[in-house]
């Protein structure tokens, strides 16, 4: 059976890929003609400033190529019948007026179309044609006619060589049987016009954050240059937060992402316009995610971004287009002039959710988002239908991606059959050994991206003069589908056996071209990428010199290509079991989910009982009972035949590699050896034991301790809570994310049990993100007093015998106050586990600067490690709440399933290899290898036995440390051999400028 994924944004994409990779057939329904969602509009992503398109585009292509994914674009679900495991859905496919099979994506139609329509992708800041592709890297790369704009002139119809334009295309209804559904339609952005006082839509230089994002983007309206409406480069930019969020009149909840993206916008503005001044106006700076606080600190310290803890009252436009901003800060009013205002608009529930709630029969919450449960954050109210991404609450990309993976795990519970692409799909590989290199070169214009700086025509001509090049051509977009066909044709027509593409960075499109090679029976490793965009046309201006450099780069690429060899993928058998380190919430959720997917697992818990931190949580902010939940979980885990729990045990050693580990577990009953294919790290974290504020005094306790007391019925009469204890300081620069929520949870509980109790909260920024904001509101309304403090002027806790008093500065009153509460409660940081370092060494996986585990990529691979086969679950990743922990744990299962569902794993072939004839078995490489992938082995020869180095292919990462260590070049990394690089270097130097 198959799964229906509704929505082709990053959440839908990730869910589809996880499902497809674990062998489940996926129908991906997207309402627009192309997938990519909101992320495709982003320029960079926080907190690494990775180029959004660079990391998204490989995923888009993967979706487009995956044999288990069928994209149904320009379509909506119109009806649903049946129940979990057996749904019948009706999908309406709206006409594209272009034949998907015939369109090559060449774009000639769009250049000829006489219509100028507003470009939604660029948020209305420029125009597109009526026949259009939303953005250049879009998938599927098929043009579509916007019938509402089309004047029916017939130019495109006549221009299309492929005869793809079809004005008579009709709507189609498709019926599908699916076993489960993932709802990921994303969110809608707030309409800034609703906040009339900011003048959006009236003042020309007030723009929204998504418009600013497009301005910043290299593919935006001004190719990455930031201009105002009048073409001036702004020198003073104001960014106004909470536009359409935390606002009683519009949306009372917090949109969670705006503070960090505003920080990003500020940094990027500084990078684009070095002398620009950027002010951010926010009530609280909510940079609570992993690495976000550090990001904001960098913005302040390195980029000089100015944050105002202020509320903007209104904006007035001056005659010159500049804007006067009136704002309130510390009880005073100010007015300041800026030349550009960016409104950080928030998320709203997608308008389609109403429709889906009807069609699918699922419940929505008070804000119109999909209703979920704290202990089942992925499930909707209807079994078999799951939710991912912004559909259930505003969230950022990594959270959405994790949730998408989690939903994939849940959805695949219902998909009983799994199918994998068969190798025979590709034609048999042509044997090129012994053939002289016959190289085909394709030089890409990349529209104007390359062609405007590098003379691509001359470059293609130059390529023809290079040795072994038998074919060279230049193409508008090397990555387009028609170029792929062109490459294939050239390979066949000219008997090419090596392909060189001179285009953008290999980090994006290399897999695409490799696959193209495979489709015509050429080994994918006979491909070489030459980067003439990011590392040539984009960084140079002098056309002649840039062209010369491109020639050198191309000549080096061709020289390397000459020496490329066909390589075979490395295949490894998979042991379909998992080792889970840590038996807390994350570990147990992971194990149970794995069991549901039919995978056995071993939980290793160092304590004598399961449960971890959850054992100390007695109530949730939304009134659920975690202890009951925990009991149920433990019972399920301990009675599940597919789960084996080792309590009071530690993992002693982990040997092997992805798909094939052998580990020793030290248990009270001796050492047990287990074999498994994957590892999930769910070691958790713990509450910080404060050193500050006289902690240790009986009246100074932490939030966890307070909760324990309240649970026992000891409700205090007056409490003063201090936030950010041990977080956001020099030692621990990160935000612990959960403490604001815990403080409010406990405050509300105290108020509930003892309405007369006095509760003070001293805070720096209240970070009650998402729907938590409503509890913040509630607490305020119930009389909890929130007082802001700054790190420069922190509260003092003075101990006087049994008594404590707290001295703090009140900004509004402008004076120091003294409180004598019954209890001082410290919202202590969440800190990494002490033994993280041991685990990190054991598994050879890295920790981040704060001591939490470091994922492979903070944006799109939140639960993977860069070492394949090892995954990350729960708060070992970073501090988070129960639903987030569950989501992250399910995500790790989903990621693990992409591997454990397979019998065999196919790995990249760029591994080290020993040329035995040259090896002297000196062992220098053996000792140098960071993953112990090399061993000295006896080889039988005709004359006896010889010792030689030998590489364990499945372990080898292909880093090449060995190859540089070998004094005779006997060990090389395939694809980066001694001579390939040497040859490239030689040729790089031979072209004379």
């Amino acid at each position: 059976m198959s799964v229906l994924v509704v929505g082709g944004g990053i959440a839908g994409i990730q869910a589809s890929l996880d499902l497809a990779e674990s062998g489940v057939k996926v129908y991906l329904v997207e309402k627009l003609p192309v997938i990519g969602g909101r992320m495709s509009q982003l320029d960079k992503t926080f907190p690494t400033n990775d180029c959004a398109m660079c990391i998204l585009s490989p995923k888009l292509n993967e979706v487009a190529r995956h044999e288990n994914i069928e994209i149904i674009n320009n379509a909506d679900v119109v009806a649903l019948e049946g129940s979990a495991g057996n749904f019948k859905v009706k999908i309406r496919k709206r006409p594209l007026y272009v034949d998907r099979e015939k369109c090559t994506g060449c774009g000639v139609c769009a250049t000829l179309c006489p219509v100028n329509a507003v470009d939604e992708y660029n948020e209305g800041m420029n125009f597109r044609s009526a026949i259009f592709l939303r953005y250049p890297q879009a998938v599927p790369k098929v043009f579509a006619i916007d019938k509402s704009k089309c004047i029916g002139c017939g130019i495109c119809y006549n221009a299309c060589v492929a005869k793809a334009v079809d004005y008579n295309q009709k709507e189609e209804i498709v019926e599908l049987n699916v076993s489960s559904i993932i709802l990921a339609p994303g969110g809608r952005l707030f309409d800034a016009k609703k906040r009339g006082e900011y003048g959006y839509g009236i003042y020309k230089n007030v723009i929204t954050s998504i418009q600013f994002e497009r301005l910043l983007s290299a593919t935006g309206p001004f190719e990455g240059h930031v201009y105002r409406s009048d073409g001036k480069v702004p020198k003073r930019i104001a960014i106004i937060q909470c536009v359409g969020s935390r606002d009683e009149k519009t949306n009372p909840y917090c949109s969670s992402v705006c503070c960090t993206y505003a920080t990003k916008h500020a940094i990027l503005a500084k990078e684009h316009i070095p002398d620009v001044e950027v002010h951010i106006f926010a009530m609280d700076v909510r940079t609570f995610g992993k690495g976000f606080e550090e990001y904001a600190n960098r913005a302040k310290k390195e980029y000089g971004v100015i944050y105002h803890k202020a509320r903007v009252a209104n904006i007035m436009e001056k005659k010159d287009g500049n804007l006067l901003i009136k704002y309130e800060k510390d009880g005073h009013s100010y007015e300041e002039e800026f030349d550009l205002v960016v409104l950080s608009i928030g998320f709203e529930a997608n308008e389609e959710l109403r429709k889906y709630s009807e069609i699918f029969g699922i419940d929505l919450n008070e804000f119109g988002f999909v209703l979920t449960d704290s202990f089942a954050p992925i499930e909707t109210s209807k079994p078999g239908i799951f939710v991912a991404g912004v559909a259930s609450e505003p969230r950022d990309i990594p959270e959405s991606v994790a949730m998408a993976s989690a939903s994939a795990a849940k959805a695949s519970e219902f998909a009983t059959e799994r199918s994998f692409a068969k190798k025979e799909e590709f034609p048999p590989e042509r044997n090129v050994i012994g053939e002289a290199p016959r190289i085909g070169v394709f030089v890409c214009h990349c529209g104007v991206n390359i062609a405007s700086t590098v003379d691509v025509v001359e470059l293609a001509e130059f390529a023809k003069t290079l040795e072994n090049v038998v074919f060279a051509d230049h193409v508008l977009f090397a990555c387009s589908a028609d170029t792929q066909e062109k490459i294939k044709r050239a390979i066949n027509d000219y008997e090419l056996n090596r392909i060189v593409v001179a285009a953008c960075t290999p980090r994006t499109h290399e897999p695409l071209f490799k696959r193209t090679l495979m489709e015509v029976g050429l080994n994918p490793y006979l491909f070489e990428f030459v980067n003439i965009r990011e590392q040539c046309s984009w960084v140079h201006t002098d056309r002649a010199r840039a062209t010369e450099k491109a020639k050198a780069l191309l000549s080096a690429g061709v020289a390397k290509a000459k020496l490329l060899e066909p390589l075979q993928f490395v295949e490894v058998e998979v042991v379909k079991k998992a080792l889970i380190i840590g038996g807390g919430l994350a570990g147990m959720v992971s194990a149970l989910e794995l069991a549901k997917q039919g995978i056995e697992s071993y939980i290793v818990e160092k304590e004598s009982e399961l449960g971890g931190n959850l054992r100390h949580i007695y109530y949730t902010i939304d009134g659920k009972n975690p202890q009951e939940f925990l009991k149920r979980l433990i019972k399920e885990v301990e009675s599940n035949p597919k789960i084996k729990v080792f309590k009071s045990s530690v993992v002693e050693s982990v040997e092997g590699f992805v798909g094939n580990y052998k580990s020793k577990i030290k248990t009270p009953n001796g050492v047990e050896e287990v074999r498994h294919g994957a590892v999930i790290v769910a070691t958790g974290a713990r509450e910080y034991k404060p050193k500050e504020f006289n902690y240790g005094h009986p009246k100074v306790i932490t939030q966890v301790e307070l909760e324990e007391r309240i649970a026992k019925g000891e409700v205090p009469n007056s409490v003063l809570m201090i936030q950010c204890v041990g977080s956001r300081n020099e030692e621990r620069p990160y935000c612990s994310r959960i403490c604001c929520q815990v403080a409010i949870k406990n405050a509300l509980k105290i108020k509930e049990l003892n309405p007369d109790a006095e509760v003070f909260v001293l805070f720096r920024d209240m970070r009650t993100y998402g729907f938590l904001e409503k509890y913040y509101e509630k607490a305020s309304k119930q009389g909890v007093v929130f007082v802001h403090y700054t790190p420069e002027n922190p509260p003092k806790v003075n101990v006087n015998g049994e008594e404590v008093e707290v001295e703090f500065y009140d900004e509004i009153l402008g004076e120091n106050l003294i409180a004598k509460p019954e209890l001082v409660v410290l919202s202590a940081a969440t800190v990494p586990n002490e033994d993280n370092e041991i685990t990190s060494k054991l598994l050879k996986v890295p920790l981040d600067a704060n001591g939490f585990f470091l994922e492979a990529h903070p944006k799109l691979r939140p639960v993977d490690f860069s070492t394949e086969g090892i995954f990350l679950a729960g708060i070992a990743h970073s501090p988070r709440l129960i639903p987030e922990t569950i989501s992250l744990s399910l995500a790790s299962v989903s990621r693990a399933m992409t591997l454990l569902s397979k019998d065999k794993l196919v790995m990249d072939a760029n591994k080290a290899e020993v040329t035995k004839e040259r090896c002297d078995a000196c062992g220098i490489c053996v000792k140098a290898c960071p993953v112990n992938a090399i061993e000295i082995v006896e080889f039988k020869t005709r004359t006896g036995v010889e010792l030689k180095a030998s590489v364990k292919k499945a372990v080898c990462l292909g880093c090449g440390i060995c190859s540089a260590s070998c004094p005779k070049g006997a060990i090389v990394v395939k694809g980066f051999t001694f001579d390939q690089i040497k040859s490239a270097v030689d040729n790089l130097l031979e072209v004379v400028v």
Binding site: I433, G434, E435, A436, P437, E467, N468
Partner: protein
């Protein structure tokens, strides 16, 4: 030759695939540019020069009675790999003729048996072409030739044509193959089977060392004297002029004093080859 290190400019006029696969062989036909072909005799070689890569020795594969120069190249190293990439019209350098030829003049009136294996057929081709072109000067001609598989046979078309024309051509391959009409087995076995008569006969054998060794024994058993048996030797060669010392065996420079030797000469050497 004024400066024997400086090659003549030559142009490839034809390239023929003889054997494909991992160890391919191609035959090149070349024409000297700006001058006539130099005089040479069967068994002599030339050094083909590819600037940037170096020079390689090839025995001239066609008879001086035929036009142009031909040589067959097994792809093994840098120069040969480059040659394999070349096409008609490309320029190479050529130095020659080099080395000692077969004493074909002395063999007039004798029967000729050529026994070849693999690419070792090259010098033998030059001989049989010569003998065929000057048929009346010589006695019977027998061409014995074999390779590992039918795909590894070089000059196939020419040999099949000779069979059609009634020449005594005895082909063999090592292992049975479908549609193979000729002998199956090693070349020396084929010689043993065919039993060429040693009387007034010169046997010339060329091929892999092990084949030559066994063939030699077979010929001796059949009654051939050492001075009736000729072969060509292979050594690393650089200058082709008997100067650089690489191809030296004792005081002989294979490039200059060879590559043609008869077995009487070889067995007189201390260093066994």
């Amino acid at each position: 030759m004024e400066n024997p290190y400086v090659p003549y400019k030559a142009q490839i006029t034809e390239v023929k695939d003889e054997v494909k696969g991992a160890r391919p062989i191609k035959t090149f036909r070349i024409k000297l540019v700006d001058r006539d072909r130099f005089d040479y005799k069967s068994g002599q070689g030339c050094l083909v020069s590819v600037f940037g890569r170096g020079e390689s020795w090839f025995t001239i594969a066609n008879s001086p009675t035929r036009p142009d120069l031909e040589f067959s190249v097994l792809k093994t190293g840098k120069v040969t790999a480059k040659l394999h990439e070349m096409k008609p019209g490309d320029i190479v350098g050529i130095r020659g003729p080099l080395g000692r030829a077969f004493p074909l003049e002395d063999w007039k009136g004798m029967n000729i048996v050529t026994i070849g294996g693999g690419i070792g057929q090259t010098p033998l081709r030059s001989i049989y072409q010569y003998v065929i072109d000057k048929e009346k000067d010589y006695g019977d001609l027998m061409i014995i030739y074999g390779a590992r598989t039918s795909r590894d046979l070089v000059y196939k078309d020419e040999l099949f044509k000779l069979i059609e024309d009634g020449y005594n051509v005895q082909l063999s391959i090592d292992n049975p193959e479908k549609d193979w009409k000729y002998f199956v087995g090693f070349v020396p076995d084929n010689v043993k089977r065919l039993k060429p008569n040693p009387k007034d006969t010169i046997a010339i054998t060329c091929g892999p060392p092990i084949m030559i060794k066994i063939t030699l024994n077979v010929l001796r058993e059949l009654g051939f004297r050492e001075d009736q048996i000729y072969t060509t030797l292979e050594r690393r060669m650089k200058c082709g002029l008997g100067k650089c010392g690489k191809c030296r065996i004792e005081s002989y420079y294979v490039c200059k004093d060879g590559p043609v030797f008869n077995y009487a000469e070889l067995s007189a050497m201390l260093e066994k080859v």
